[in-house]
């Protein structure tokens, strides 16, 4: 549906922005509670931390990082157009530029986060 909708890049950018934003919101709710636990019940926190450091946890962090990086780059694109309306003419170019930056920064980042799964210690 998303790919066939006539909104094209603008529509996809909007849908991804909304989905990534909701995912980050959900993580923020969990993350504030787990850091609160670090003060309140350090042992419970240290146990939860093992989930973050596990293989599934690391895959989750790569997905979180991807959502965060996309939302940040596309959000910057939105702010540029909102405060500098002439840039709206280039919204499609900025969307593709944000994907170049996304892949350029995201691939090495994913490598660093996932590396301990394959190279322990």
């Amino acid at each position: 549906m998303l790919l066939r909708y006539r909104g094209r890049e603008g529509m996809l950018a909007w849908a991804f922005h909304r989905i990534s934003g909701l995912a980050i919101w959900l993580f923020v709710v969990i993350h504030i509670i787990d850091i609160y636990l670090a003060g309140d019940d350090p042992k419970a926190y240290d146990t939860i931390l093992q989930v973050y450091a596990s293989a599934p946890g690391r895959i989750g962090e790569v997905l979180l990082g991807a959502a965060l990086l996309y939302h940040a780059l596309n959000g910057l694109r939105i702010v540029i157009m909102d405060f500098w309306p002439r840039m709206t003419h280039y919204h499609r170019q900025m969307w593709w530029a944000s994907w170049v930056i996304f892949v350029g920064l995201g691939l090495p980042a994913a490598f660093i986060i996932l590396k301990p799964i394959f190279v322990p210690g």
């Binding site: 919101w25 003060g39 350090p42 931390l49 450091a53 962090e61 940040a72 939105i78 909102d82 301990p116």
Partner: protein, 129 residues
């Protein structure tokens, strides 16, 4: 042809216009603070080292980081709950919207309280949970 997919700036001022600016300005702050936070805790350190001892003995053994993390907490709660507010407003109407939004505002306040307590180092007994 130019498409304008962004949410238009609300006309007439008031709270809606304030929220529109707040989402964008907090977003700019988060562009720096949230990306820096994620990068530091994944690239400079690894999650496997980030025990509660690491947080209180190292990371937060520095007033600057406590202040910056509190700023991050404030911005992320403002930005993310204003964003969810927009989504709820798009899909939920009437009494269900009022109920859902009331719950979300309460959750935002609770998270702000919990996060502030841990970052300023208040003993958790204050809340008597």
């Amino acid at each position: 042809m130019t498409q304008r997919m962004n949410r238009p700036r609300p006309q007439g001022g008031g709270l809606e216009l304030a929220a529109w600016y707040l989402v964008r300005l907090s977003g700019l702050g988060l562009f720096v603070l949230a990306l820096a936070h994620f990068s530091i805790l994944h690239f400079l350190f690894d999650p496997s080292q980030e025990t509660s001892n690491f947080i209180f003995g190292q990371r937060w053994n520095d007033l600057v980081w406590r202040v910056l993390d509190w700023a991050l907490l404030m911005l992320v709660i403002m930005h993310s709950f204003l964003g969810v507010r927009t989504v709820v407003g798009d899909y939920v109407k009437g009494g269900a919207r009022t109920a859902l939004m009331s719950g979300l505002y309460l959750l935002a306040l609770l998270l702000f309280a919990l996060g502030t307590m841990v970052v300023v180092g208040l003993p958790s007994q204050v809340l008597a949970l």
